[in-house]
Subunit: 236 residues, 2 copies
């Protein structure tokens, strides 16, 4: 972890622990430089990262302010880190249904930029929140990149393993959302009735070099599905 | 529009018109500086903006590459610019159901940081895509900020009016997604059966100075609901 990332983590923790509200003013850049004994460019990077993550917003000529969404129990849709962080007060477990190495379907091969005769790791699991079904997850990993997976890894955070153990750098992702009705199989996995509302989130994760490595399809139990996204301005 | 924004627009247009695929390499920074006759810092800002918008990704030591999602007909969930841009091939219309000035409910006042005796503009409209219902939209605008609205403005792009005519600068937004079943009223507006799947997207838009000015609740017709989000890495 680089210095500016470490400082960002400390500022984020400070905001959370002190329960600072949206709009609370943070110290000016010069004070932060003194406090953390780093250069202006390091603090600038720190603030850029915090802004990107939706923790602060900067107003030119006015200062740095806390950004905070007001609702509890919502899952961050764009956090690559899985649910752990946003749902700290909840007990999350998962049950592995399938874990194997297979050839990709045409759809999967297309998304992962692979040939049909190459191998993918396929993981199917149900995730539970406080004992209730949260989602049914099917993931396809390019085996040339994610070279090894086992039940132990898959029952924990796969992304933690990918970044820490394999040392890969996760970059951008494309996320698709579709709303439909549950078919019989999905309903039975989630413990819901057939034709109940279905939220399908398909994600394609890339390494920082642009290589796609993980294509995931997650079907949520609509009764547990509350998401939030902190968006930055995309305006010209 | 500033120079770097203008160049970003030109590069985006170039990528679209030439149908460049994901992973296509763009000219190096030095070439872009020459081509547009601007400084390195302007090009750096241009690239930052394009990266934020999910148009390119940069690989350190390797270059600048096109980023492009592969699916057609998906609506960008985080584009403040409404649907127009993403759905250029579709005909979008809207019907205004209600437009009035009223006092905010407690929920609306809380989100918009207002007192209960202040005024909001309330807009309720149905939006259609190729003649089919796309969504039922209810929006609340703080009248102290959005000082004037009429039927003509509301039947077009409200955000275009806000940025161009009122000259306001739109900043970040908080977006909440919930999945549920349609009640009778919603179903009738959307031309669907009661208890059909419902996707509710609630958005709170802020000015760049952090002031919330628009709280919107949009209920989508699930048959037309295909969204995408281009996410950047939020990893440490």
């Amino acid at each position: 972890m680089l210095k500016y990332q470490q400082i960002a983590g400390e500022i984020e923790k400070y905001i959370e622990e002190n329960e600072l509200k949206q709009g609370s003013k943070l110290p000016v850049i010069e004070s932060l430089m003194k406090q953390y004994r780093v250069s202006k460019s390091t603090i600038t990077k720190t603030l850029e990262l915090l802004e990107k993550k939706g923790i602060i917003f900067q107003v030119r000529g006015s200062g740095i302010f806390v950004r905070r969404q007001k609702r509890k129990g919502y899952i961050s849709l764009l956090s690559n880190q899985g649910f752990k962080k946003d749902l700290e007060d909840y007990i999350l477990t998962s049950k592995i249904i399938e874990l194997d190495v297979r050839k990709p379907s045409e759809e999967v091969a297309l998304h992962l930029n692979m040939d049909l005769n190459e191998d993918v790791y396929y993981v199917k699991r149900i995730r539970y929140i406080n004992g209730q079904t949260l989602c049914l997850e099917e993931s396809y990993y390019n085996k040339a990149i994610i070279t090894y997976l086992n039940k132990e890894i898959v029952s924990e955070s796969i992304f933690h393993y990918i970044t820490e153990a394999l040392g890969l750098k996760v970059g951008f992702s494309d996320v698709y959302l579709l709303v439909d009705k549950l078919n019989e199989e999905e309903a039975s996995y989630l413990g819901l009735e057939k034709n109940s509302p279905k939220l399908l989130v398909e994600s394609l994760f890339h390494l920082t070099n642009g290589q796609p490595f993980d294509f995931s399809k997650v079907t949520y139990n609509y009764q547990q599905s509350q998401f939030f996204i902190q968006a930055n301005s995309l305006f010209f």
